[in-house]
C-alpha cells in the first residue's frame, strides 16, 4: 500500500507547507516538467505537492552531485551551494523520462 496523499486531502495533519515532494530529498523532479517527479522510496512518480511520512528536507551537505532544477544542470557540491544561495531549486538528482531519448539529436 502506498501512503501518498495530496496536500489537499491531508485533512488535519499539520505538516509544514513546504513538506511535500517538492522539497523532499527522496524525490527526483522530472527534467522538463518539474511538477512531476520520481519518489526513490516508493518508486512511483508523483506530483510535487504530494507528501508522505518519509519526507526528508532536501539539503546540500555531502560531497556528491546535485541537480539544479532551475538551471537543469548537474552540479558538484560547491556549485550546488552557490545555486542554493541563489534560491534555485536543488535536488539530489533528476528523473529522466526514458522516452526522452526519442527526441534527441545524434551529433
Amino acid at each position: 500500500m502506498i501512503h501518498i496523499m495530496s496536500l489537499a486531502s491531508r485533512g488535519s495533519l499539520k505538516l509544514s507547507g513546504k513538506a511535500s515532494c517538492a522539497s523532499c530529498w527522496n524525490w527526483l523532479p522530472h527534467v522538463h516538467y518539474p511538477f512531476i517527479g520520481y519518489c526513490s522510496i516508493w518508486r512511483v512518480t508523483t506530483f510535487d505537492d504530494y507528501y508522505c511520512l518519509n519526507y526528508e528536507l532536501v539539503s546540500v551537505s555531502g560531497d556528491r552531485f546535485y541537480w539544479c532544477s532551475t538551471c537543469k544542470l548537474r552540479l558538484t557540491r560547491d556549485d550546488a551551494i552557490i545555486h542554493w544561495n541563489g534560491n534555485h531549486r536543488i535536488f539530489r538528482a533528476a528523473y529522466v523520462d526514458p522516452d526522452v531519448r526519442e527526441e534527441l539529436y545524434e551529433g
Binding site: V31, F35, Y105, G107
Partner: protein
Amino acid sequence: MIDLNLIIGGPQGGGVESAGQVVVKAIVLKGFNVLGTREYHSNIMGAHSYYHVRFSDGIVRALRLPVESIVALDAESVLTHINDLSERGFLVYDIDTLSQDATRIASMEPSLRRRLRNTFNSLGLNPTVANAIKILEEKGVKTIGLPLKDLLKKVSAEIGAPIASIAKTVNVIGIASSLYMLGFEPEYISKALELQFGNRPKILKPNITAASIAIEYIESNYGKRPILQDGPHKGKRRMITSGNEIVAMAKIIGGLSFETFYPITPASDEAFHIEENKYIEVEGVEKDSIDKLSIVVLQTEDEISAINMAIGAALTGSRAATSTSGPGFSLMNEAISMAVEAEVPILISLWMRAGPSTGIATREGQQDLLHSIFSGHGDTPKIVIASGDHIEAFYDTLKAMNWAEEFQTPVIHLLDKYLASTITVLDEPEIDPSIVDIRRGKRVESPGDNYKRYEITEDGLSPMAPLGSTTMIVSSLEHDEYGFASEDPIDREEMMKKRIRKFETIAKSIPESEKLVLHGDIDARITIISFGSTKQAILGAIEELEKRGIKINFLQFRILSPFPSNSALDVLSRSERIISVESNAMGQLSLLVRAHTGVNIEYSIRKLNARPLYDIDIVYGVERIIKDNVKSVVVSSGS
C-alpha cells in the same frame, strides 16, 4: 481560403516532436495540405525546441510567420515566440509559469535573455510570462491559460494510471486545446493519436483521455468552438513523409543493397528509416527468402569507414550508398578522390546543416555546395545534384543511383536539414517509382581472362565486372587499363583523358531539362537563381509578388556538376536583374555561375541565421532590392 500557421514550443525532449506529428496527422485527416518542421537545439535536452506547422486547403509551399496559434509547454516558449504571434491569434500556456522570468530561465540563450530584458525594461516591465501575456493581450491576442498540473491530475484520476504514464501527456493537453480552438472536432484529434500511438495501447489511452479532458476544459471555460470546414482532401489515401523518409523510400525502391552511415544530424534518420523498412515483400518470392533481399544498413565507427565500406560494397556489384552531413563529408574527402580514381559507383546523400565546423548542428544551412563540387583532391569530377523539395528528393535519389552506376562515379546528392525534418503530405500519384527505371550501365558478370577494368573507350566508360569474377586490381593508384599501378607518362595521360571524357559523356547524357528548370514567365525581367530547398519558398514568393504587380521568374539549378553553362547563360542573358537567393554567406551559387558563365550576379538575398527561408523573406528582400535599390539583403526571420 484556409491558411493557418501554428507553433508548439517546449523543452527539447519534452514531447514537442510527437506533438507536432500528431498535429500534422490531424490536419491531414481533416483534408488539408500541410507542412510541418521541427526546430531543435543542438544540446542533449532541455533547451527550447519547437514545431512549426502551416496548413491550407491550397498548396502549402513554405512556412510563414506570424502564426495564428502558439502552444507553449513552458515559460521559455512563451517568451521566445512573443513576436511570432499574429494579432488575431491565440496563445495556449501553462498558468503555473506566469511568475517565471526570462532572466532566470537557464536554458534560454543568454543573448535572447538580454534582448527580452531590454525590450521589457523599455516598457517598464520585467521579462516575465505574466508581462508577456499582458503585452500580447494588449495587441489583441487571445490567451488561454491551462492549469496543466490540475489537468494532469484529472487524467491520472480518470484512468487510474500511474503518474509516470500520464506525465507524457502534457504535450497532448496543449495541442488538443489548440486544435479544438482552431475548430477541429475531437474525433480528428483522437484519430491522429491512434495513428501516432496505435501500436502502443498503454500510451494511447492516457493520451486520448488527456485530449478529451483538455477539450472539456476549453469548452467549459471558453465555450464551444465553431467547427472548421473540412479540407478538400478529406477521405483520400495520402502519404505523410519527411525528407529523410522519402529519400530512404527511394533507396529501398531503387534497389539499394548496402547503406552505411555514422550518426549525424540531420542525416541519420534516413538510414534508420531504411533499417526499419528493409524487409520488403516481393511478388513471387517466398517470405522465408525475404531476408536475402533485405538491405544491409551498417553503422560504422566513423565517416571514413562509412564511405570506404560503401566503396567496397559497390566494387562487389552491390548498389551502395552512404549518408552524412557536412562534418562527416569532410572526413570522406580522401575516399571520394579514390572513388573518382578507381571509378566506383557510390551515392553520397549529403544533408547540409549550418556550418562551418560543427556550427549549429541541428539548424538549416546551404553551405556545402562548393565543398561538394570540389571535394576530393586531384582532378575529381563528379555529379552533384540538389533537390528542391520532397518529390524531387525522391526521384533524384532514384536517378542518382542510376547515374552512379551508369557513369561509374560518385554522385553527391545535396539535401539539407530543412528538407530532412520537414513533414509534408503527398498524393500517391506524385510518387511513382516506375517513372525511373533501374539502370546499371556497362556491367559484365563473366569478363573472361583478359578483362580490362579500365579499358580505354570513346565515351570514357569501361565495362565493370564485380570483384571476384576474374583477376582484377582496383586501387587508389594511377593505373593502366588492367588496373595495375603505373607511373608511365602515356598511361597517366590516357587515364586522365579517359576520366575527363567520361565527365563529358555525363554532361551530354543528362538532359538539360534535368539540369535546370525555369519557373515562371520566360519574359520576366527579374530572375531569381537558387538551388536546393529554397525552391518552394521562392515559388510562394513569386506568387505573392505577382499579386503585388512584380513579375519574376526563377532559374532553379538542379545539377550543379557538370554545370549547365549554356542553358544557364541562355536564360540569364535575357534578364535585366538577377537575384541569388541562398542560405549561405559567400553566395556559393553566384560564384559558380560567374565561374561557368561569366555572368556577375549583382543582387542577393541571404539567410544566415540558420533558420528556414520563408516566402515572406524573399518577398521582403525583392521589394527592398527594387524599391530601395539595395544590392544585398540579409533576411532574419525565425526564432
